[in-house]
Symmetry: C2
Subunit: 312 residues, 2 copies
Amino acid sequence: MTPQTSPHAPVREVVRPTTFVEATRLGRRLGVELTIASETFQHTGSFKFRAAYHLAAQVPQQRIITASSGNFGQGLAFACQLLNKSCMVVMPNTSAKTKLEAVREFGGDVELIDVTRITRSERVRELAALHGDAYIASPYDDPLVIEGNATLGEELAASGESFDFIIAPVGGGGLTSGIIRGLRASGCPVRVYGAEPELANDAARSLRSGCLLANETEPPTIADGVRTLSLGQHNWAILRDGLEGIVEVSEEQIKESVRLLFTLANLKAEPTGALGVAALLAAPKLFCGQAVCCIASGGNVDPELFRSILAG
Amino acid sequence: MTPQTSPHAPVREVVRPTTFVEATRLGRRLGVELTIASETFQHTGSFKFRAAYHLAAQVPQQRIITASSGNFGQGLAFACQLLNKSCMVVMPNTSAKTKLEAVREFGGDVELIDVTRITRSERVRELAALHGDAYIASPYDDPLVIEGNATLGEELAASGESFDFIIAPVGGGGLTSGIIRGLRASGCPVRVYGAEPELANDAARSLRSGCLLANETEPPTIADGVRTLSLGQHNWAILRDGLEGIVEVSEEQIKESVRLLFTLANLKAEPTGALGVAALLAAPKLFCGQAVCCIASGGNVDPELFRSILAG
């Protein structure tokens, strides 16, 4: 047997390094020594490209199918463009126009669905039956996704900064599980907290109960990147012991954090990307005086929504 | 005589390196290979800290007086805080509240004036008479300012990128003259263009005529960082031969560039910081297909103004 090797450039050579922003004024305001690791300037504007590229480069299939209303779809479309593969992205017909445009701009085939008539996963199954040669990619629940996101954990470990805490958004758990995997593989013991909307607190409830729990319906949080029903199985296996804890934040704290990042750190973050800072607002005593690194996971937000958040 | 040496950390060790953002989507839209060198994450949110720190570290005086309604005041206040010096910043009583707050937050003494009763320079002269021991700092027309800003030129030369053009905003000329000085000292021949509002085109007119010309009154451009009457003498001496040219841009092109940076590059730039991209809109044939680096000089903009720009 020949070993399965990929002819493609490895993910570490393709991703852009995360952007470390020393947020002096914002940190003073919040009573911590604050660094933002911003993935807003990653290819396609969010950390999702790390996982999408790694997955697309590693699987032998030429065609990849996924369901995503947002950042994973963009990341996968651009990754496939770079790798000369093709991808189909199932998106609700209610998706933001800018996100549809971005997927198409990067050469992805958009499969619009009416979610009142068919669920995303049903449509993915239909497409999978039509295209038996395709790889069906979950945006979070896949070891390749976790490996791709682990590159961010490796960068955090290699940064030379000695953070007391890292705080990252939790939705399906792809980001936090990847960060923990990368940190630990690099021998870095820094504690990792998740930040999750109160409205979508399945991960916090899972951690408390010790069992993987799910939301009954898609949670209506403004943080559209974490509107998942539950953690993935692969993610939960890492997070149940790997996370120090999860801080639950209110919708108002998310919006306030978008404003604070904008006014005091000059950062444009999408609501999901502001969850780490929202955790500092929600649990100030937990982090007081500590060196904290918040992961700004992405910056792709509709200008109209951003305007309404800035208006307060 | 003992040589005059400074006990302070040199500017190169204190400034944050500029943030290079590969703006793939924005570049495709504008027909160039586009990199943004963003100074929006520099200390105090603009390149002005480079000059302010270098000046404050080099002059022997303990007290520094300047007039600034914006970014130089913030930069100088933070520099003096780091250097255990004091500074007075003459600001119009019409200055944006957030800019007043920032100067005070960094320990600067704000001297508010009613510009209908006294000009900034008159008040600076009064304060200079009261404080004979103080150094009077121009935000642009001072060799120390140019030397401080030259650190950005050195970084651009050392980046390993081979740009065809660099485009930077022109107001008093402190930034462009510093960049040119730093590039040439590093042996880098890359061509530098200035970007200037049509409403404030004294530098473009000066370059055309070969004589240093001035605006009669403070130009009402939305780009508040370049509302200067003319280039400084020290700056003009470098720019008259050092600049490849100046592209004049409309107010609408400035606003469109703020929106494009926001939506396609996830960057929050102040109007002055978007001038380089506005030059690409104003003179597309000049830069078509070239590798261009636009300097986003700063990100400090009032949220209300930003909202109104986003609304289009």
